[in-house]
Amino acid sequence: MKVRNLAVTVIILLFIALWVYAGFSKIGDYDNFKFQLGRSPYVQHLADFIAKALPTAEIITALLFIPKATRLLAMYLSFFGMLIFTGYIYAMLNYSYFVPCSCGGILNDLGWHEHLIFNIFFTLLALTGIILMVYNRNISRGTSPKDTTTLPPINRPQVAS
């Protein structure tokens, strides 16, 4: 239980760090970010919208990790976001007719293939986070079959004195 809780905490902190960094680095380099989106075959026609919506969504996701009540939602959003990013990079590498520079803060130093591996890792991390959080939640509600601490007390037959 302690190990699970620790793992969930670490995953949450990693995602908060990732989304905060990703969101603010895009805002900080907004013009260049929007320009690079315009050079991507897949999103060139949505560059304006994505340039505004994506960093906003990343920061909101990071904030949703703070209250306990919205952490699982934030983990689902993280999984969804990483899945799309991973699929986008895979499509760029294998199906795109033009591959622009893979810019994005610290990930600026990563090539496209390294970026793909990084994204796959975080997608799986988000999935792991969801599984652990759901499992922990089931245990705390007493709905997990392996949890023995929340079973109703055993009715022992009364022995006549």
Partner: protein, 346 residues
């Protein structure tokens, strides 16, 4: 638990749907008819030998008889195989570490010497394949150039980018980097740092002519080794998709939008230019175009279109570079895959 599994599945399906929609609306070429037809005259290319040596080869840099010299992204290694692809030997060159030499360099082998030219590193290197020793020469001029083509051991043609005007010009350079001749009227003054009219430069020893096939515009320019224009003509492939645009930024010139490639790799053999086209003709089928690369043939003498044929892929991957290694024999490279094709002409 079932609720969460369902939610995960829904998210995966939605993500895939979004990516599918982005793919369908990405403005890729060949989704609509391009407005031209090809003449498939019965020429066929059949794969007769394939090999995977475990190395990533970028180009064939020379041939001597049955021996073929190949280059990867490491300038200190030159590989040698034969036309049967039955062996691979490695020559290790003793080149000192030079900043920015790799991976942007061109290599030519006239055995036993290899000549390596790099614009980023501003160097010409002559290396002895037998002893491994090298002579490194710093180019006496500053500036960026592309498409360096070797005419002989003492002459190179380069496409130089003037840093003041950002216009591209072809120049003839000697083995020490001295500029001998600058073109007069071959290139359009686009102030584009060479981007809009980037392309593939090839030299035909038989006719002593050079042919430049532009990548983003359907043009061919033929000129002689004195940088005099022979002719300008158009390739057969046309497209209705958006034209390539550039933009000047603080960091320099770059593409404003994803460029649409029209022409790819080219090679010359027997006074004929073999030019890969990335545009599908109206009389082609998607299946054929996707599973092969299409090569258009042009007469060097006047740029006249002769016909087209398909070059099959290597284990599902497009051939990226191809070279004639004998009469009716083509060597194809696709990253770490290498194949020999037999060309049959009617």
């Amino acid at each position: 638990m079932r609720k969460h599994l369902t939610l995960l599945l829904v998210l995966i399906v939605v993500a895939v749907g979004i990516l599918y929609a982005l793919n369908k609306t990405n403005g890729a070429p060949n989704r609509v008819k391009n407005g031209f037809v090809r003449n498939f005259d019965g020429t066929t290319a059949t794969l007769i030998k394939e090999a995977d040596f475990g190395w990533h080869f970028r180009e064939v840099c020379g041939q001597q008889g049955d021996s073929l010299f190949l280059m990867g992204t490491d300038p200190t290694k030159i590989f040698m195989t034969n036309t049967n692809l039955s062996k691979l030997d490695t020559f290790n060159l003793d080149i000192p570490p030079i900043k920015r030499l790799a991976p942007a360099f061109r290599c030519n082998v006239i055995f036993p010497y290899a000549y390596i030219v790099s614009s980023n590193a501003q160097r010409i290197i002559k290396a002895d394949l037998i002893t491994g020793k090298s002579e490194v020469r710093v180019l006496p001029f500053h500036g960026v150039f592309h498409n360096s083509v070797m005419l002989d051991s003492n002459r190179f043609v380069i496409r130089y980018i003037d840093t003041t005007t950002l216009n591209a010009k072809f120049k003839l350079m000697d083995g020490k980097g001295n500029i001998l001749i600058t073109e007069g009227n071959l290139s359009k003054p686009m102030q584009d740092a060479g981007f809009l009219y980037a392309g593939s430069l090839n030299y035909d020893k038989q006719s002593d002519k050079l042919v430049f096939a532009t990548s983003y515009v359907n043009e061919l320019t033929c000129f002689d080794t004195m940088m005099k224009l022979n002719y300008n003509t158009q390739t057969i492939d046309t497209t209705h998709t958006l034209k390539t645009e550039i933009v000047h930024t603080k960091r320099g010139v770059t593409f404003k939008k994803p460029p649409i490639s029209i022409n790819g790799h080219a090679t010359i053999y027997n006074k004929t230019l073999y030019l890969r086209s990335k545009l599908m003709a109206d009389n082609e089928h998607n299946n054929d175009f996707d599973k092969n690369i299409v090569i258009d043939r042009y007469k060097i003498e006047d740029g006249h279109y002769l016909g087209s044929f398909y070059l099959p892929s290597l284990k599902g991957k497009d051939v990226l570079q191809y070279y004639f290694i004998g009469s009716n024999r083509i060597l194809g490279l696709s990253n770490d895959k290498i194949g020999v094709f037999n060309l049959t002409q009617p």
